[in-house]
């Protein structure tokens, strides 16, 4: 840490980690609903739909708070100046946290916009927009005042700017369901396969520069290529969500071709990481930070790239669309691409914010946390994948009614639940480790 105001990132990390824990707990309850019979009285009071709104909104909120915290950490160092207003950053955190809590409590009482992932009611949407504007203003003013522009922070800021703009398309009430979903994907798809990829690429590039000592010129040159490919495949690739919603047939071709190319930029990101490690000028320390960084890049490719490609072609998607196959892909992709990205950044930034000697920390429980979580999520995604293939065959190909086909899937949802318990243990250890990070017993001499 070179600037005092960078430490404003820390409370963002803390809040986001607590929300992460709650998200995983809610996930276990969702899985329970799939394999067990929840009595009518409980279903009436707290239906699956409300629990799902919790699970997904907590995910989005904690990831965004992590991105914003990371930006507040990164921008002062990139601009070589203090943050415009650390106080505003804290007010913004308060506002977004309160909005989040009010939204969750509201869901329990049926206050909802009633659209998946965008359940936050419209009045609260405006508070979210105000929070986003405070954030963009704060970061923008820091950059303008410092008059120092780098490619890395440009990519990060562009990602966060588009994220805010695209959110607006999710606010109106659409009369026509097909039009509704058309723009719903402008938020959901263009976030995770557009704006968020800009953020992920920038955060990864920044950490690689700091950790390996590889020249900025080289890292940023490849960042341009990565982003160009991400956006080339990602924007028109939105079409893979337009196959079956009542849009013209050409989306089958456009969506199929562009989204089939989507794994390539992720593969380039894997290659870039490998090349930077090969040409590193610093030792790969602390080890756990590297485990996270490399693990994240690999699972980003597997979860988003390979699992996504597996059901993106229209010929396959006709049978798998809206089944547990999507659930399998969704879990591994979010974990690999964005959960690990944030956790890597926390392990990178917290020792610096706390000023540990050599930025090294006591790693022990962190490793256990990583492997329990990673293997748990992987096992869970594979269990969902089996459930998805079963559902696809029984319901879609054979034509069995939904609830009949759901019967043999119950076992695999139980398997997913058991892996979920492993994830919960791993996440608990990871959160505890991050919140109580201690310097390494013997500080590095380097």
């Amino acid at each position: 840490m070179t600037h005092k105001s960078q430490s404003v990132a820390y409370p963002y990390f803390v809040v986001s980690l607590l929300l992460f824990g709650l998200q995983v707990l809610m996930g276990l309850w969702l899985a329970t609903n799939y394999f067990a019979t929840v009595p009518q009285a409980i279903v009436d009071a707290f239906p699956f739909s409300t629990a799902r709104a919790f699970h997904t909104n907590l995910l989005v909120l904690w990831l965004l708070l992590g991105f914003m915290g990371a930006t507040y950490y990164l921008v002062p160092e990139e601009t070589n100046s203090e943050l415009y207003s650390p106080k505003l950053a804290l007010i913004q955190l308060g506002l977004l946290s309160v909005t989040g809590v009010v939204a969750l409590v509201g869901f329990v009482f049926g206050w909802t916009q009633g659209r998946p992932l965008l359940e936050i009611p419209r009045p609260l949407d405006f508070l979210v927009v105000i929070g986003a504007l405070m954030f963009l203003f704060n970061v923008g003013m820091t950059i303008i005042k410092a008059k120092r522009w780098t490619m890395t922070q440009g990519s990060l800021l562009a990602g966060l700017f588009f994220l805010a703009i695209l959110y607006l398309f999710g606010i109106p009430f659409y009369r026509n369901l097909a039009v509704d979903w058309y723009y719903w994907w402008w938020v959901v798809h263009l976030w995770v396969e557009g704006a968020w990829e800009l953020i992920a690429a920038a955060m990864t590039a920044y950490m690689l520069m700091k950790l390996t000592g590889v020249e900025r010129r080289i890292v940023e040159k490849w960042l341009y290529v990565e982003l160009g490919l991400f956006l080339f495949t990602g924007i028109a690739g939105t079409g893979h969500h337009y196959y079956w919603l009542g849009a013209p047939k050409y989306w089958l071709a456009v969506g199929g071709i562009f989204s089939a190319l989507e794994p390539f930029p992720i593969l380039l990101m894997v290659y870039d990481t490998w090349r930077d490690i090969k040409h590193r000028k610093e030792p790969m320390k602390p080890k756990l930070t590297w485990v996270y960084l490399v693990g994240g890049v690999i699972l980003h490719f597997v979860g988003a790239g390979l699992f996504g490609f597996a059901h993106t072609l229209p010929q396959i998607n006709y049978y798998t669309h809206g089944s547990q196959v999507t659930v399998s892909h969704g879990h591994l992709a979010f974990y690999g691409a964005y959960v690990l990205l944030n956790l890597t950044f926390y392990y990178f930034a917290i020792p610096r914010i706390k000023g540990f000697p050599g930025f090294e920390y006591d790693e022990k429980t962190g490793h256990t946390g990583f492997w329990l979580t990673a293997l748990g999520v992987l096992g869970m995604s594979l269990a969902f994948a089996v459930a998805g293939v079963l559902q696809t065959y029984l319901e879609r190909v054979q034509g069995q009614p939904y609830m009949l086909a759901a019967q043999p899937i119950r076992f695999w949802m139980f398997v997913a639940f058991v892996h979920g318990l492993v994830v919960l243990a791993g996440v608990f250890l990871t959160i505890k480790h991050l919140l109580t990070l201690r310097p390494a017993a013997q500080p590095a001499t380097a």
Partner: protein, 238 residues
């Protein structure tokens, strides 16, 4: 690779994809009205959409394949179940799903809201979306009509269905009315024995169903109707 080339890749890739995407967006908007039959999208349908959102139906059910995967897709719920069966589920889910291992919450919808949601699902069922989902595909229903015609003269069950005018309320292939559930769907879900018992006194197995009793048929005849319905199922996976 030079830095200049890297920048060209960035701007070229981004702008070309964006231009294509926006151009197709404009064209898609020009076609949406025809593909979704927007002329039938009246105020009751919109009210149904609002009710659908108010009760957060979409976080358990998918519609057009999007949403929660916890409950059946609703894109073609109207052609599969018909309006009476949908209304009955919305009115009293605790009764309709009493035997199911998965429950639906009782959210105390008003009669108006139930009618609006039925109208909404009727409109949705006509959206032209390349015949998705496969389990409710029109092509599949058409095939079952052909099977029926091929075997009708040999099947006493089919003759009974015709004699009792079941298609005045139920759908079968292209024919019939979407008041009650579609025969292929019933056949895939139930056993012949269950259907025979149901025909004798529907109220016993599905309280509140609009279905009249067919107690005037003999047990053998009811069994024949049941066997005929089961023979229509797209699959026999049970």
């Amino acid at each position: 690779m030079s830095e200049k080339l890297a920048k060209i890749i960035f701007w070229g890739g981004t702008l070309s994809s964006l231009a294509l995407f926006l151009a197709l967006t404009v064209d898609t908007h020009r076609q949406f009205d025809a593909l979704t039959h927007a002329d039938r999208l009246d105020e009751q349908v919109v009210a149904g959409k609002r009710a659908f959102e108010k009760y957060n139906c979409n976080d358990c059910h998918t519609i057009l394949g999007f949403g929660g995967y916890f409950a059946p897709d609703l894109t073609r719920a109207y052609t599969r179940l018909g309006e009476d069966a949908i209304a009955r589920r919305l009115q009293a889910p605790e009764v309709a799903f009493a035997d199911s291992f998965r429950k639906m919450p009782q959210q105390n919808l008003s009669q108006q809201e139930i009618a609006d949601i039925v109208a909404y699902l009727r409109w949705v069922s006509h959206i032209e979306n390349h015949d998705w989902p496969p389990q409710d595909s029109t092509r599949r229903w058409k095939r079952s009509t052909q099977n029926l015609l091929a075997s009708a003269t040999l099947s006493p069950g089919a003759a009974l269905v015709k004699q009792e005018d079941c298609l005045a309320c139920h759908k079968l292939g292209d024919a019939g009315t979407a008041k009650g559930p579609r025969f292929e769907w019933i056949g895939a879900k139930r056993s012949a024995q269950w259907i025979a018992t149901y025909l004798e006194n529907p109220e016993k197995l599905a309280p509140g169903a609009a279905m009249p009793a067919y107690a005037h048929l003999s047990p053998e005849q009811r069994q024949l109707v049941g066997e005929f319905l089961v023979s229509l199922a797209a699959s026999h996976g049970r």
